[in-house]
Symmetry: C2
Subunit: 435 residues, 2 copies
């Protein structure tokens, strides 16, 4: 059965990191609306997606799942509160579709309009100086729908942790064991909060999805994000799994992207605030930004949110978060996040600690408080999630791009060539052609 | 194991219909916030509620579950749309708490304030002529939270079916098999749509929760509302279960309250509209009334909403629905439901068909389009759900009461004595003391 589940894993998109199959179905060929997943009364058996058999997470089925994650397990709400949504003024432009760029490592040009399908985009919103200049949806995502944010989730909690630090409620130099004694004997025990926030911990934790024995599989099975094999005897919750993580090397060294740091940080935030992280996210962000819709979280069997990647949001609300960051932490006339926190994120992490992580599409970048910082001439920085989720903030151009996608390949190295230069070209176009 | 599950059933509140245990814990003793279910990081094992072992549906645990149903399984969203919530002006009054009434079958008086805890109320909103004159929450329900509506769900779909009839899109005299051929060989095949809507079908379907062999158990297990025994081989979805229901007697006779009629009606609505009923509810009601929050549905393994009782809403949004009914179907300057539909519901069903159903607390009432109609001097009518859920519309007094509760006993006969006369007394008080 372990074998069978490994086969499921191998068949899932999480397993195909960095290797391009001979021919991927196009966006049109894999359109979840056309393919009719879960449609009909009842849907025919071949159109039913299930968590138990792993079908919900295979490509192209995952193109439906990413807009309907709540249909596959328990969730909690992230309330926007009872008020009216904040205005997102509209000034849509028709000139953006023709903006051309050269994809990384290629010679032929591509347009912004062509990139939409090339990146298996489910929805994209571009704000320029706070106004919607471009908005488009495809597949089964709608403005009133919610999409899996994947690891963009992390940037929300990196930001919140930084806010708690700024308020003096969280000591970034405190050892995790001081705050969460249950983690004393785990790898996290002698890591500092700041090391978690910047993912500079020495952990025996592989995020290589192609390896069925990688610890990331134990992690997501413990949290019930992916199905468990029958007779599964492993950790039952995120809390239990976190306590099993062992050290490998020293903390404070090179940046190493490991989702488990975010869940450990989530536990720290829970302990410091005394509240579920979904509630903290509601109080600190969702109810403060005039969000249009509630967000929601996938939770494990004891109601613990998947702080490493379980958030689902409306696309425009993701854009509102980026716009608040662009505005030095201000939104709707209030300072929601201290300017010093935004400045610190924008300034980035230790650039010397980044190259060892080997991200060929991100040369010269750094990682800070669970944000990816480009250090380019525009000072752009990003929240990123597998399969093409991105929130791109370009301070110089006054531009925010929020994109949800369901790319067949998990690793963003597969879409960076046709997203990052597109964002840069659009930023330059908006700078040169303001309206 | 069947035995074990029957024991779970017997221990659940659904099983204690109409029999008063010697001593029920009070509202204060059973307060889910005080008892700390699912609180802590992590919660201690004795505070964890689970679906698998039935603990989520036992009393007093269900007091937490009713405000957190989404944590126990898959759900779908009922979108409010992107607009601003409609205003619910506030004119709170302090005189209502002292309004006194005589509970049915008792001699001592009780006040409105006392009834709050006596009915294990989680939240109550009273509108008088469209303004909030009273609003209170307890336990773990908050204005920004959502609560299980139980069978109040039915009244939404009875109303929507009546709207489809009024629009000529649904023939109330059509046989169900004409619309849903899959139900041809079931009991529903030769029932008319109107007979479903008024629950005047002859079905072999017991809703006696004390009987572990009652068909209602098969129904909710098929839809995964309650846990299945290991090795369960029965129907896997609501669709499959509906096809197994057999006839008992003739259609068109006496009213007999059976939840399965609502799920059959749900299938009819799905087939007629070509949409999931949650989407229909969003388009027809939720996005039309300026709802404050999205609602959500528990769904079965193929994403089919539990039209008989799986809706969860914010309390104020339930009140908004009642207020639209009170205003002859109008809300926010629009005719959301045709006045003729509201009139027909208010006029009630065949009163002669009602008494056989034996509701001692509802003398002279009738049932129409999945609403309960009092035929009292005020023309009051209700949506009702087990454990004390109620939406009470009193046209003469211009009053709407929306109440969510988690009474230990499922049957509303247990709370009617301390709710129905309270509503009547409040209505008379508001009539006599307008402001």
């Amino acid at each position: 059965m372990k074998r069978a589940l490994a086969a499921v894993a191998a068949a899932s998109a999480w397993a195909v990191l960095a290797q391009t199959p001979p021919a991927l179905p196009t966006a049109a060929q894999s359109d979840p609306a056309t393919l009719g997943w879960m449609q009909g009364s009842p849907p025919t058996p071949d159109k039913v997606l299930r968590k138990e058999d792993g079908s919900f997470y295979r490509f192209p089925q995952l193109r439906w799942t990413f807009s309907n994650a709540r249909q596959f397990g328990p969730t909690t709400n992230v309330s926007r509160g009872p008020g009216a949504p904040s205005a997102l003024p509209r000034a849509e432009r028709t000139d953006l579709d023709d903006v051309a760029f050269t994809p990384l490592g290629r010679s032929e040009r591509m347009t912004w309009a062509q990139a939409f399908d090339a990146n298996y985009t489910d929805g994209i919103v571009v704000l320029h100086r706070g106004r919607i200049v471009h908005e488009r949806y495809a597949g089964v995502l709608r403005p009133e729908g919610q999409h899996l944010a994947q690891s963009i989730t992390k940037s929300f909690f990196g930001t919140i942790a930084a806010v708690l630090v700024a308020e003096g409620r969280l000591d970034p130099e405190a050892k995790v064991a001081q705050l969460v004694p249950e983690l004393k004997d785990s790898a996290f025990g002698d890591a500092t909060v700041r090391q978690l926030m910047d993912m500079r911990t020495g952990l025996k934790y592989s995020e290589n999805y192609a390896d069925p024995n990688a610890e990331v599989w134990m992690h997501v099975r413990a949290g019930n994000v992916l199905p468990r094999p029958p007779g599964y005897q492993g950790p039952q919750t995120f809390y239990e799994f976190l306590q099993t993580v062992r050290k490998d090397g020293e903390h404070g060294g090179a940046f190493a992207y490991r989702t488990v740091n975010s869940d450990a940080l989530g536990w720290v935030i829970r302990r410091v605030t005394g509240k579920p992280v979904g509630q903290v996210l509601s109080e600190r962000i969702w109810s403060q930004l005039g969000m249009e819709q509630d967000a929601y979280f996938s939770v494990d069997s004891v109601g613990n949110e998947f702080a490493g990647g379980g958030l689902n949001t409306a696309l425009r609300d993701l854009a509102r978060f980026g716009e608040m960051m662009r505005n030095d932490g201000r939104a709707n006339g209030r300072q929601v996040v201290p300017k010093a926190v935004v400045d610190d994120i924008r300034n980035g992490g230790d650039r010397a600690a980044f190259p060892q992580a080997s991200y060929p599409t991100l040369p010269g970048w750094s990682y800070r408080s669970m944000w990816w910082v480009s250090h380019n001439a525009h000072g752009a920085y990003m929240a990123r999630g597998i399969h093409g989720q991105s929130l791109y903030v370009d301070p110089k151009a006054g531009m925010v791009v929020a994109r949800y996608a369901s790319h067949p390949l998990a690793a963003n190295a597969n879409n960076d060539p046709t997203t990052l230069p597109a964002y840069q070209a659009l930023a330059e176009h908006l700078l040169a052609n303001p309206r």
